[in-house]
């Protein structure tokens, strides 16, 4: 297929939008930590833009998208040395009309934000050096294979026949399961449960949410890999699911706590965006509304449950990304509309495939992440000391202060 300038324009734009989501996420998370850990939180996200990009061009892209292995790609593309200005590599294969570089960069942005999502769970206590080591290893050992299984021609696509439009499995369940594993190894923040740990700047969280919503159009609609009707459909389902979920969350909240909150609204929006991610290019508008509704209500309830558990998932990665991702991946199995996308048609068969893929993604990510975390903990220690936590990670780990209002 010849390169099409319109498709390319939308994918260039989408790649930029998805890159922008990582700063957005940084602020979404950053606003929720205490001010003494603000920069450390931002840094955990931003550093993924550095480390994961390097991993991606070195081996990640190749492991995910080169070769025909069931379980893992090959290293033929390592270093991306043979990537030219055309679309020889992926044009025919995916029947897309964009340069290979654009496909690889679009995918790179997904590889970046996925580990960044995990940062919210380990906020305010994980050691920065350990975090860097973690995302470096995790991108290779967990992300790349998962991307290969689902999008690179691996067994989830070809054998399980589950579908995942823009990353319910690869991004959200993957990150959510990893968050759970990492939190279990890491333990709760010092003072957790005793001290009140309030968000230090909700406006910045809300700004981050605004950027996320904006960038998510690139994430989901860009996953059509072209500028066409399917992209339009994914754009619409994305926006509607976010709107419905945000509204549903606030309603649930108002009914349960008495007050609708701003943080609730944006949390609901993110939950809706997460849940629609795997389904965006498979469902019709009604499907999007149902998914949005489910995400808003169920993720909110998941959070209410959270207090029952003994783990400190600081910024609720599990309740939002794991629960939301599972919701979307499963509901898509029921709601997929073959008129929207011939690749999947809702029903028990597709539901079964989706359920299988969810179990596989969850189990793989959880187990491997747990092992990585344990090993890293033995090798280098993954937690900041109590004194560092007390002083705040900004000063103790980065020698910086977020806000200096003097003079």
């Amino acid at each position: 297929m010849e390169i099409n300038s319109g498709d390319t324009a939308w994918l260039l734009t989408s790649s930029a939008l998805v890159l922008f989501m990582t700063p957005g996420l940084a602020f979404f998370y950053g606003g929720m930590v205490r001010q003494k850990n603000m920069l450390a939180m931002l840094m955990m996200n931003f550093v993924a833009m550095g480390i994961v990009t390097i991993v991606w061009i070195a081996v990640g892209a190749s492991l995910a998208f080169s070769g025909t292995g069931k379980f893992i790609g090959d290293l033929n593309l390592a270093g991306l040395m043979d990537v030219g200005l055309g679309n020889e590599l992926f044009g025919e294969r995916y029947a897309i009309a964009i340069p290979d570089t654009v496909f690889l960069m679009f995918q790179c942005m997904f590889a970046i934000i996925t580990p960044a999502l995990i940062a919210g769970a380990v906020a305010e206590r994980m050691k920065f050096t350990a975090w860097v080591a973690f995302i470096l290893i995790w991108s290779i050992v967990v992300y790349a294979p998962m991307a290969h299984w689902v999008w690179g021609g691996g067994f989830i696509a070809t054998q399980v026949k589950a579908v995942d439009f823009a990353g319910g499995l690869v991004v959200h369940i993957n990150a959510g399961a990893a968050a759970l594993a990492l939190v279990l190894v890491l333990g709760p923040r010092t003072g957790w449960g005793k001290q009140v740990m309030r968000p230090h700047s909700l406006p910045l969280t809300i700004l981050g949410a605004g950027i996320l919503w904006f960038g998510w159009f690139g994430f989901n609609s860009g996953s059509a890999l072209g500028s066409n009707g399917l992209a339009g459909q994914a754009f619409m389902t994305t926006h509607v699911a976010a709107a419905v979920a945000a509204t549903a969350w606030v309603l649930a909240e108002a009914m349960s706590n008495g007050k609708p909150t701003t943080l609730g609204f944006v949390s609901g929006a993110v939950a809706g965006l997460v849940a629609i991610t795997p389904a965006a290019g498979f469902v019709n508008l009604l499907g999007a509304v149902v998914i949005g509704l489910a995400a808003g209500v169920i993720c909110f309830l998941a959070l209410k449950l959270k207090t029952k558990f003994k783990f400190d998932d600081s910024l609720d990665v599990i309740a939002v990304h794991l629960v939301g991702g599972i919701l979307g991946a499963l509901l898509l199995g029921l709601l997929a509309d073959a008129d929207v996308n011939a690749l999947a048609s809702g029903g028990m068969e597709q539901f079964g495939r989706q359920a299988t893929s969810v179990v596989i993604a969850f189990a793989y990510s959880f187990i491997v992440t747990f092992i990585i975390a344990k090993v890293l903990d033995m090798v280098m220690g993954i937690r900041a000391t109590e004194t560092q936590e007390r002083e705040g990670l900004d000063l103790s780990l980065h020698e910086e202060q977020a806000y200096v209002m003097a003079d």
């Binding site: 009140v196 309030r198 968000p199 909240e253 349960s256 706590n257 007050k259 909150t261 943080l263 609730g264 949390s267 909110f300 959070l303 209410k304 207090t307 609720d316």
Partner: protein, 112 residues
Amino acid sequence: MKLVIAYIAPFKLDEVRDALKAAGVTGLTAVSAQGFGRQAGHTETYRGSEYEVDMVPKVRIEVLVDDTLAPTVISTIETTARTGSTGDGKILVVPVEDAVRIRTGERGREAV
């Protein structure tokens, strides 16, 4: 000389300052504070978890005055800052042994 310290509601600051000016006070220093007292705190809710926060925003003001002006200052603050509901705040008087105006080096009453 006395140092009159008062904790007042933030929205009363402008009014109190103007009243004090009118009463002849020539200076004042204010600081944002958090107070706890009889006034009920408030609930904050973050993602479904409720926190009882019993610290309420207040402004702490400080006025250095000559002994003779102290009663006026107190009663001015009292009447201006009063709304009649809990949380109106308190006024204290602390003795001051010496005072200096940095610019001129004037001391004592001159420095006020």
